[in-house]
Symmetry: C2
């Protein structure tokens, strides 16, 4: 569905691609998803509409790739390894996400990743476009499901992998479903960010990890 | 800020009020918050615009009260007690929410309340308007904060109260912050509902409670 520039893309087309991503992200942040059009993205990026349609089939595709690119950039800036995972789940190379480190200390590893997520959520480059897209996904189930499948679920699967390895090491109970377990620390942070229900800090995410691993009941 | 019909409101004005709530909820579900206007609510409810402005100062106020009324209705239908709490936090009588039961079995009590929340989230009367309003709150921080403060936080404070009583009974560790702890089971459900990240079932919410109380790590 998503076509990419050929490997021999010129420097000029790479520059256009970056301008298109930047235009798409800033537009969606300013006017919301419904009013973001391919025409407006093209105008802001200083390219012809046909340049966009040569590479992408819709505004949803442009935005999807713009977000994958942004996530890659911010991960690179944060100095994370890119473990070569196919986070887009579509077999394409290039859309990579950092695996969660496995130092043998599950709590420390989860806290480190969640602190990096806090940084990302508080980064204005990410915050406004991600809010606009998420808001649209809340009322537009079809679009929401596509973006979750391509942008969010691949990140969540990194937690699944780390929790499975913790199960192998005896640090997480065998009967725990990792796909549900990760929600105990990921979803609270997501809700505070999305709904402004509370402050987002390192202390907060550290606390979530401790509560999730050791439980609320006395041991 | 929110004015209410006088206690001597006639049957006719009560009927208008109900028509206005229904119109506001159905409109926001259909066209979204930005395009919902007081004029359109009035037209759909079959009342004059001035009737609305006599009772409420803005469309946000109408929607806020419409949701409080809907929550009250669904709680009543579900046979919950209304414990007389001031869930709106504004000192008004009438906006009441069910307290969380305290049978002495924390897990059972939390599971029962979350199952009722599952029912509410899957109720089409609630789902579409609540999505529209939540989506707007994601991109409109000021509105989001008002609705969270008036509609969501009062519900969350019921969990705080139940967790405090569990701390007194020795069922939750003393060093746990109840306002964060409740997010371990409330936020995952909220995220699955909002972002379509997974199925919403009783089994799922039961599992969240067990994981949160007893933790992911072996005991």
């Amino acid at each position: 569905m998503v076509s990419k520039p050929a490997p021999d893309a010129t420097r000029r087309s790479e520059k256009s691609r970056r301008a298109i991503y930047a235009a798409a992200l800033s537009l969606v942040a300013e006017v919301g998803y419904p009013k973001t059009t391919v025409e407006a993205i093209a105008a802001r990026a200083g390219v012809g509409k046909q340049t966009i349609y040569r590479w992408w089939s819709s505004k949803a595709d442009v935005l999807l790739e713009a977000f994958l690119d942004l996530a890659e950039q911010t991960a690179r800036e944060a100095g994370h390894d890119t473990a070569g995972q196919d986070t887009a789940g579509d077999g394409t190379a290039g859309d990579e996400a950092a695996a969660i480190p496995d130092t043998g200390d599950l709590a420390a590893d989860l806290k480190a990743v969640l602190r990096a997520t806090v940084d990302e959520l508080l980064d204005p480059r990410f915050d406004a476009p991600a809010r606009a897209l998420t808001a649209e996904g809340v009322v537009n189930e079809q679009l929401g499901r596509v973006f979750v499948a391509r942008l969010l679920e691949p990140q969540l699967q990194l937690y699944v992998a780390r929790l499975r390895s913790a199960q192998d090491a005896g640090h997480v109970r065998r009967d725990v479903d990792p796909r549900i377990a990760l929600e105990l620390f990921v979803s609270p942070l997501a809700q505070r960010w999305l709904q402004h229900t509370g402050p987002i800090t390192y202390d907060y995410t550290d606390t979530l990890v401790d509560y999730a691993l050791y439980g609320l009941a006395p041991r």
